[in-house]
Symmetry: C2
Subunit: 243 residues, 2 copies
Amino acid sequence: MPISDVKALTFDVFGTVVDWRGSVSREIGALANERGLEVDADLFADEWRAGYGPGMNKVRTGEWEWIGIDAIHRRRLDELLVQFGISGLTEEETAHLNKVWHRLDPWPEAVEGLTRLKGKFIICTLSNGSVALLTNMAKRAGLPWDCVLSSELSGHYKPDPQSYLKAAELLGLESGEVMMTAAHQGDLLASAKSGLHTAFVRRPDEFGHGTGLGNTANPESDPSFDFAADSFNDLADQLGCPR
Amino acid sequence: MPISDVKALTFDVFGTVVDWRGSVSREIGALANERGLEVDADLFADEWRAGYGPGMNKVRTGEWEWIGIDAIHRRRLDELLVQFGISGLTEEETAHLNKVWHRLDPWPEAVEGLTRLKGKFIICTLSNGSVALLTNMAKRAGLPWDCVLSSELSGHYKPDPQSYLKAAELLGLESGEVMMTAAHQGDLLASAKSGLHTAFVRRPDEFGHGTGLGNTANPESDPSFDFAADSFNDLADQLGCPR
């Protein structure tokens, strides 16, 4: 289907809309400070994030039953608290810390860019974060989604095709009427295989200027993508959304 | 759980948030006018709505496989076009008319009341309308939902308990942390059985001042409900949401 048929933009969230590394690092740093501990907070964030893909893979291969993102984050957090020597947290404190992923800050231009895109398209999340996580995040950060969709609703984590196809179905659209927007090649290459259009948005600071452990994603666009942009505002310009 | 634990309000939509009868009647009236036909547009709206419960019941009893709300509306519409002598619509025109349920207008105070409630609670739909219908409706009408939930996500129409429990699960909440808000006793009585709190909102004009065919719902509150209000603004007052 031609690009002019696109009615909805679905967005990857972690890294594309929000700065997970900076947000998690700030909370870990504040916690360490409060308790007089020496902790490399950036490394903690990177190591936490690095447990995310392997956790989802265990679901994908059937080694783990379907578990939500909070549970995947929590299994990794429990290991990291030991590894980084952070002890003495109550269960309530640990549960609160685990939900830092519900409290991530958007990239500075994200809300403005999304608001412009919303004027012309349905805009919604399509993340491996849960509906609850994405709803809490949007409420706190003022992200103006038309609706909140998640891999959770298909029972298959991205980049499994079911996650993309279920989102199009729930929006009442053909996959060619949907454009996936993400800062990661893999997400977009998989979307395209399911017939979605693709918009790449560069987020060069996602992994801490290329120094982070988790920097395994390809931060560059691919010639096969329909759009490549430096920001949501740039994408809004390219799509003819008024300022 | 005590009322003070409520973190999210889930809303019935048809009749509670939007005036389906007035909205459908206006479109049918305009169509008839355009074609020089004499049609009782209020009666058409009532008869269309009257096909909705029986359609869902056929899904509930297994007589029909799960079908979405658009398909339930369409089966009834095809009958009514014959019954009311409206002929000569193209497939595209009929499909567009069927989606009038995506274009319903809110009650005049609904957006203001919801905006106040949103300041204190997560607010989301919990309707038998599909995610697509509710998303399109919200976008057109400016309904400020934090997220869009639907019976569709459980595969069970309200008032089946699965629909309420799935909504709480997707919000990451216990059912006692959720309050169902509706203009219909049956919806709230069923919610309460699943452990949700309940807020009744009177919408006395839903069925055309009590004259409509579809007026089979009890428009009064029940002493068992946690709140009874004359509007969303009244509910916001009772829940201590600032103006």
